[in-house]
């Protein structure tokens, strides 16, 4: 069954801009990636293998996109895996390192290995207790009781107890952090003894448990929980923070007495050194010349070359992010439904995806993650039909088209590439989309907050959990809403769905919502899903991606 990973925003190359703009520190290039939320279901076993399916078949000698990487396959003893330094060519610089504050994908990729949470997301999207040995929810689903693992030590050598867990959660509750809003539904936090911890909710609220699996509720030692701003995080993870130079490099070393260390799952690598290289072509060249053993953010155009080369291998993880065209429905001309429809009919989504992603992505008409029950099968993207497009233009009173600005954040090459093809196709019916490449900070202030735009492109980390897909960036009071499309029927449906637990019922509501969105031609013209593309040298073994899609887990990787 296809699983949706937590994609960070945007396409492979420079997604340095995907950290969420949060209260405290301005993260400059902050993408509006959605906070992680995991479906409320519990249980499910942790299986080592992350299944990935990808468009590209695993041909050729390279390990290709490991469907199931059998870890012990070559039978060599565990010891040979130990040691070595991984040179990692990173696409986006690591931002600030406060786990409760920082949701940028680039930062999450490293924090994942440093701090850990009470519960962890599994490939099958079940939620496995991690630092919490057991997790029970009361019948009225209002109280969560957990017993903590024992013998877990922090990087600073101190032992983890419920005091640390309570301090971490209280830090988020009383401060101004990413997950602070969720504590509106928390009545009380209790730590009855050293190794048990209870959370009393005011009403059943599924997203809270999902949020506990993200670094926004990671467990840090009590000493750090008191700090207003954590610069060098101390956690319980397999790797500990070593050093960093802003925008240049980040280094983390193996934590000797990691509580969950094992012969089989590592951690094996001694140190992981990330060097930040902005340009995708140079990054790939450094991989081929052997300066790096692993790079993330491979450009779609290089996929063919990488797969054909013998001494490197490609790994894809689909889907990572949804890219869509934002139309400002609060302003002329896109306030008129016919104009939106005209544009929809003018575009050949398949061609656009092919141009931008060289076939490594998929078109869609629903924001729900592919393969999830929330996908409404009979809503398809409108095929290109110039006559219908002209008809709608006439109905809207603009027979010979119109001219609008088309603002593209310049740090997303695939969106820029797509925009060129879109503007070319739209010009066939007289719609003149004037491309304006702007910096991410200008996009944030012009498009996102001041809404002074007509057409733009944006991306969004799709997530298996529907609330993020349908509410977060389509509902007027969702956190990442900027198109001004307001359909009351749609809003009620999605609001109601937020509080339902039963999967079938929620699916019905989301299917209806998809129809309304399509029929009313929402301000979100969905373009394509795109994949996470990683490149690695042949001697760099182990799986790269993790369950949530965009972070990296280095523990089980080793250099032969």
């Amino acid at each position: 069954m296809k699983r949706v990973r937590t994609p960070d925003s945007a396409d492979g190359s420079t997604d340095h801009t995907d950290s969420r703009v949060d209260r405290r520190a301005f993260l400059g290039a902050a993408a509006a990636s959605v906070p992680f939320a995991i479906a409320g279901c519990t249980g499910g076993s942790q299986s080592e293998n992350t299944t990935t399916t990808s468009g590209s078949s695993g041909d050729g000698g390279s390990g290709g996109d490991t469907t199931t990487e059998s870890s012990g396959g070559d039978g060599s003893g565990g010891s040979s895996k130990m040691g070595g330094t991984l040179q990692w060519g990173g696409a986006v610089p690591v931002q600030s390192l406060d786990p409760h504050l920082e949701s940028a994908a680039a930062t999450q990729r490293v924090l994942k290995n440093i701090v850990e949470e009470l519960v962890q997301l599994q490939p099958d999207y079940s939620l496995k207790p991690h630092l919490a040995k057991t997790l029970e929810t009361s019948e009225d689903k209002k109280t969560l009781r957990m017993t903590l693992q024992e013998g877990v030590t922090f990087h600073d050598g101190s032992e983890m107890t419920s005091v640390d867990v309570k301090a971490s959660y209280e830090r988020v509750a009383n401060g101004d952090f990413l997950a602070t809003g969720f504590f509106d539904f928390v009545k009380e936090l209790r730590a009855p003894d050293d190794y048990s911890f209870e959370i009393q909710l005011t009403e059943p609220f599924a997203p809270f448990v999902a949020r506990m699996a993200t670094s926004e509720l990671a467990v840090v030692p009590e000493s750090q929980a008191k700090q207003d701003k954590i610069k060098e995080p101390i956690g319980t993870g397999p790797y500990q923070f070593d050093s960093r130079e802003i925008d240049t490099s980040f280094t983390m070393t193996r934590f000797e007495n990691y509580w969950n260390a094992s012969e089989e799952n590592g951690p094996f690598l001694d140190t992981v050194v990330k060097t930040e290289i902005k340009d995708p072509t140079t990054r790939l060249q450094s991989l081929t010349t052997g300066e790096f053993q692993f790079i993330n953010g491979v450009a779609p155009k290089d996929v063919k070359k990488l797969k054909s080369s013998s001494n490197e291998r490609l790994e894809t993880q689909f889907p990572k992010a949804l890219v869509y065209m934002g139309l400002n429905c609060a302003k002329k001309p896109f306030d008129n439904r016919d104009v939106r429809l005209a544009l929809d009919y003018a575009l050949d989504k398949e061609q656009i995806m092919e141009a931008a992603l060289y076939g490594t992505g998929k078109t869609t008409a629903t924001p729900a993650a592919p393969g999830s029950p929330w996908v409404n099968p009979d809503v398809k993207p409108r095929p290109r039909d110039l006559d219908k497009a002209r008809a709608h233009l006439e109905k809207a009173g603009m027979p010979d088209g119109f001219s609008v600005s088309f603002k593209i954040p310049e740090s997303y090459p695939t969106q820029v590439q797509g925009a060129k093809v879109i503007s070319d196709q739209a010009s066939d019916v007289g719609i003149d989309l004037q491309i304006q490449k702007i910096t991410w900070s200008t996009w944030l202030s012009d498009v996102y907050s001041n809404r002074n735009f007509e057409a733009t492109t944006s991306s969004y980390l799709a997530l298996w959990y529907p609330d993020v897909s349908f509410f977060k960036f389509l509902d007027p009071n969702g956190a990442f809403f900027f198109t001004g499309w307001d359909n009351s029927e749609y809003n009620q449906l999605v609001e109601k769905a937020r509080h339902l637990y039963d999967q079938q019922e929620r699916a019905k509501l989301y299917h209806k919502a998809t129809e309304i969105m399509h029929e009313d031609r929402a301000g979100h013209l969905l373009l394509w899903w795109q994949a996470d593309l990683y490149g690695a040298a042949n001697n760099y073994k182990g799986h790269m991606g993790t369950a949530d899609g965009s972070t990296l887990w280095f523990a089980d990787n080793y250099i032969q």
């Binding site: 340009d279 072509t281 092919e354 141009a355 070319d424 196709q425 491309i435």
Partner: protein
Amino acid sequence: MAAEASVVERLRPTTAQRERIARFAVRVRANTKAEIGLAIVLALVLVAIFAPVIAPYSISKTDISHRSEAPSVAHPFGTDSLGRDIFSRVVMGSRISLYVGFGSILAALAIGTVIGVIAGYLGGLTDELLMRMMDAAMAFPPVLLALTLMVVLGPDLSNVILALAFVYTPYIARVARSAALTERNESYVEAAVARGESNRRIIFSEVLPNCSAPLLVQGSLNISFAILAEASLSFLGLGAQPPTPSWGLMINVGSGFMDTAPWILIFPGLAIGITVIGFNMLGDGLRDVLDPKVDTVAA
């Protein structure tokens, strides 16, 4: 009535003026550098003017089925990563480079000359202040200052011209000032003062025409700087906006395909190289032609 007569009289090129232009043309042809430079620049201007006729394809038509094709008969320069014909885009790109080159330098010439000549002629405190301002503007490396201005002004080609004009004004002002300084000590200026001419008239009708030689040279050299700067701005993604076929932008996109489709990068790179060589040679040649000292006839 009298006034128009004198205006007409001034406009009609007297025989002497025609003679002067003819003599100037002879000397230009005699100087190989100026000749080659002029040839390249003229060719470029012609290509730019007739670009729509020369370019076989539209600059924005994407054709995914023919993407990154090697140079062929149909596409003499090959196609880029979106299947667009590179030859047409390079030809249309000449318009962008000339538009930016001439636009920014003419603006810089206008402002810079006025500032420079006033500073050079009046001297004293005005000169000190104006020149310190110019030094300050020159303290910022051109590309860096242009970049900051671009973010301020917003992504548009005419803003590129504004930014580059601001950046190159001090270079022109400096040349204008030193020319005005030498002219100020000439006696014909003192004669004009003795005639009771106002400062304004002396600056603009007596001193300015005589500063034209060094300004012409500096102007043509700066055009090549402006074209290179536009290429750098577009390379950094803040110059011309797609689908405008700016050579710098084409190199930026092409740099991703250097090993698989080098032609996407090579042809715009060659175009910039030849254009800039043309202007530089013209500038150098003009400097020799206009510099009386270099005259070879023995006394």
